[in-house]
Amino acid sequence: MSEIVVNAVSKTWGGVGGVNNISFKADAGTLLVLLGPSGCGKSTTLRLIAGLEEVDSGTITIGGREVTHLSPAQRHISMVFQSYALFPHLNVAENIVFGLKVRGVGRAERDERLKKVADIVGLSHLLERKPSQLSGGQRQRVALGRAIIAEAPVCLMDEPLSNLDAKLRHEMRTEIRSLQQRLGMTMVYVTHDQTEAMTMADRVILMRDGHIEQNGAPHELYNEPASDFTARFIGTPPMNIISWQDNAMLGVRPEHVSIVEGNGVPATVKAVEYLGADSIVLCDVKGENVSVRQTGYCSLPTGAQVSLEWQNRHIHLFDRDSGKRRAGTASHA
């Protein structure tokens, strides 16, 4: 099987951008998500694995084979680009079998594999169409088809869903994940959307400014954020972070804050967002924002004075200067 090991890899463009000394491992047959805001180095990392960029230092191995200085083709990978990179003058079938043709696979085998792949991605009825005659979702499927027909053990995806509308994105998310599991591919998936990361990944690597902020399973990033950056990046709405005593910041998830009668942290309601199943109540606590997740509809008017409460087992403490997670708990408010 093909695990990917990235070891102490650096890449900069004249000291600007890129990635700085990152190491991680993607286990064979799993889906690893590289997550982070734009400019954090996640796409660079993917392009380094693909061989579209040359590393400055460090090594990359795929399936136990050192590939650091090999060409993209020699790495036996497939890739899906954000823009899909479909060839506009070729029809769907020709786009999908492009790689097989390059490698000189015979016509009979090509047709057979095309038929199988077209079935998998649901394009059998559109094989004669040009990319310009397809919808965004269909183009996405063509790009997927081109990636899986190679039967490469490793598939790299660079923000493949960012050009789709919300509903389609949700569908394709599930589809890509089940495809990856069915075919047993090792997949590295780049996204800036934490929902995609949380729902699809076996393991998430959150990146920031060219280094790895946290590397863990989705529930680890959610429940034990290693820094206030992770805490603020993961979750919708993200974790509330407010100033606390002892040069610390206190973090608590919106679903762990409740509005109570009587004693608690005094707060003013600024806005209520009704989402259907629950409502997000945005409150002001001494000039800082705290969101509260409440089940069902919330009828609190703007400007209402309320008391907030949370339990000690739900709080996270971060160092104010380094942003790193602190051990221990704070006193109950």
């Binding site: 890739m79 990179a85 506009p88």
Partner: protein, 305 residues
């Protein structure tokens, strides 16, 4: 009462509004109509008209039907300049296109001095044909011209390049290719830059060589540009004759004369305006044929995004 007046006035007001809109539209079109009519449409119709009449020097010109055309088909010089023109087009169009593509691919890469190279390739386009012809006249001068001086080093005798019917067309074609290729390069360069770089990367991941990518992706995506350029080059090869005035005057013995230059000679040297009109109608028919082929046939066969 009021309602009755309103309903009677309404259609009249609407009619007047319509009328004003049309007047407005025609006024906006007027400048273009006047210019096109005076300098394009009227001359074409007038030329066509005159081609059916006798010259009528010092007398009245009579309607002669297709007599001028019959004369043209019997005119050996007409056939020679037409043949020259076709040879000239076949020699310059594919060569300048191939050269333009080569230069565009070269200066599209990230190489040192790229802007300088682009400028150098484009310079011949900026020069007027008259100036270019004068420069090249010195290259081809027998005895002390650049070409002869260069060949003398290898022991070749002096050559009258422009005076020899067997070399004159080649000399002119080389010069025109030199002048035109840089202009066509700009179009290719623009087209190359619209091809997204991810296509190249996607092909690279699939293991396509650079040549394979060029042949299977770049070239097909450049086809609309190639078509546009080839039509332009073809039309240019019929309408660009400035160099003949400077360099050969169509000689020796009409060996380098082209259709348009022959028309000019017939009209202004021989003062045979009706025959010139006949030849002009023929030239317009050829160019219209080329344009129609592009719009009706080729556009449909070539991929447009």
């Amino acid at each position: 009462m009021v309602a009755a007046v309103m309903s009677a006035a309404e259609p009249r007001a609407a009619k007047r509004r319509n009328w004003m809109t049309s007047i407005n539209a025609w006024l906006l079109l007027l400048p273009a109509i006047v210019l096109l009519g005076t300098f394009t449409h009227y001359p074409i119709l007038s030329t066509l008209y005159h081609s059916f009449f006798s010259l009528g020097r010092g007398g009245t010109s009579n309607f002669v039907g297709f007599e001028n055309y019959a004369y043209m088909l019997d005119d050996d010089v007409f056939w020679q300049v037409l043949r020259n023109n076709i040879v000239f087009a076949l020699a310059t169009v594919p060569t300048s296109i191939a050269l333009a593509l080569l230069m565009a691919v070269w200066v599209d890469k990230k190489i040192a001095g790229r802007s300088f190279l682009r400028l150098a390739f484009f310079t011949p386009t900026v020069l007027p044909m008259i100036a270019v012809a004068n420069i090249w006249l010195f290259f081809y001068t027998p005895g002390y011209g650049l070409l002869d001086q260069f060949l003398k080093n290898f022991g070749f005798a002096s050559n009258n390049w422009l005076g020899d019917p067997s070399t004159v067309m080649t000399c002119l074609a080389v010069m025109v290719v030199w002048k035109e290729a840089g202009f066509f390069m700009i179009f290719y360069l623009a087209a190359l830059q619209t091809i997204p770089p991810e296509l190249k990367e996607a092909a690279e991941v699939e293991g396509a060589s650079r040549w394979y990518f060029f042949r299977r992706v770049t070239l097909p995506l450049l086809m609309p540009t190639t078509l546009f350029i080839s039509i332009n080059a073809l039309i240019n090869s019929f309408k660009l004759v400035d160099q003949l005035v400077i360099m050969t005057k169509g000689g020796p013995n009409n060996a380098s004369s082209l259709l348009l230059y022959y028309i000019y000679e017939v009209a202004f040297t021989f003062q045979d305006t009706t025959y010139a009109a006949t030849l002009t109608v023929t030239l317009i028919a050829i160019l219209a044929g080329v344009a129609l082929t592009k719009f009706v046939y080729l556009d449909r066969r070539i991929h447009y995004q």
